[in-house]
Amino acid sequence: MDFKSSDAVVGPRSEDILPSSVSTAVKVVIVGGFGVGKTTLVGSVSEIRPLTTEETMTQAGVGVDDNTGVERKSETTVAMDFGRISINDELVLYLFGTPGQQRFWFLWNGLFEGALGAVVLVDTRRLEVSFDVIGRLEERGVPFVVAINTFAGAPGYPVEELRAALDLPDNVPIVDCDARKRDSSRDVLMALMRYLYSLAVKTEAS
């Protein structure tokens, strides 16, 4: 692919331009398996048209090339979509959607560093991915809430059963959501903020 000449770069639409007073940006990560609704959630609450950013990943190929004896490497580009919410004149919140599968964890270094917290989007038809993601977030000390996206035909479990299945501590919020609805997605973010607030209060008290 040719690089875009600088004249060809199309910047933000006029309504997407941030005022120059904005001085601080914070981020929240939406993580979950394929097709769980990450892009939908980001899109439903974002004030800008959701954007896509890319990172290249070099993977060691499977096995060794017969002709050269050199291990094959392949480069894949992984896309992350993100959106933005202006909080006030000085503060903006960015939301990044990222796939939860282990082979994408290389993206996580820059992503979770400094993030306020995360939303783990869960499809009850496929709990396995969530398992790994939750373990990994706990390891990294990233606070998170779990949002259950309700798909037609997905088994509906009582919250406490899910909590047990996902091995979640009592204080980690589990909320239902419909990522297609702005209010519902907003409520998920609110649940995360309330949780972060409770953690902050606890930290200050100790």
Binding site: F3, L51, E54
Partner: protein, 122 residues
């Protein structure tokens, strides 16, 4: 491939590695400049004619504050490349970086309260 087997996150449209090398001079790091995906970048000068086209494009985009992630999205350049270019622009003081809240200050109640207020208005 069956439905659900797809990998929509993977895109074949890669930035040409040759060009990548030209722009970065083979460097991959960003040196001392600690850039984050949400570091806000603002241009402090107009692009000079001698500047690389990628850098010129970024300077033009950043007339108002824009995050590193947005710069990457609008220019179609990989994040790591954008960060290398920005590190140079910062060093030469063509742009100013408004860094995200340092991790040491998180979680901070006032900040979280502000976010809650903002979300309530949505």
């Amino acid at each position: 491939m069956s439905e659900g087997d797809h990998e929509p996150g993977v895109d074949e449209n890669e930035y040409d590695p040759g060009r990548m090398y030209v722009v970065t001079g083979g460097r991959t790091g960003t040196g001392k400049a600690a850039l984050d995906l949400v570091t806000l970048i603002v241009a402090t000068s107009e692009p000079q004619p001698t500047i690389q086209p990628e850098a010129a494009g970024i300077l033009r985009l950043c007339e108002s504050p824009l995050s590193v992630a947005e710069i990457s999205a609008y220019t179609d350049l990989p994040i790591s490349l954008v960060m290398v270019i920005l590190a140079d622009l910062l060093k030469d003081e063509h742009v100013e970086a408004r860094a995200p809240v340092p991790k040491a200050l998180l979680p901070e109640r006032a900040l979280i309260e502000a976010v809650m207020h903002g979300l309530q208005k949505l």
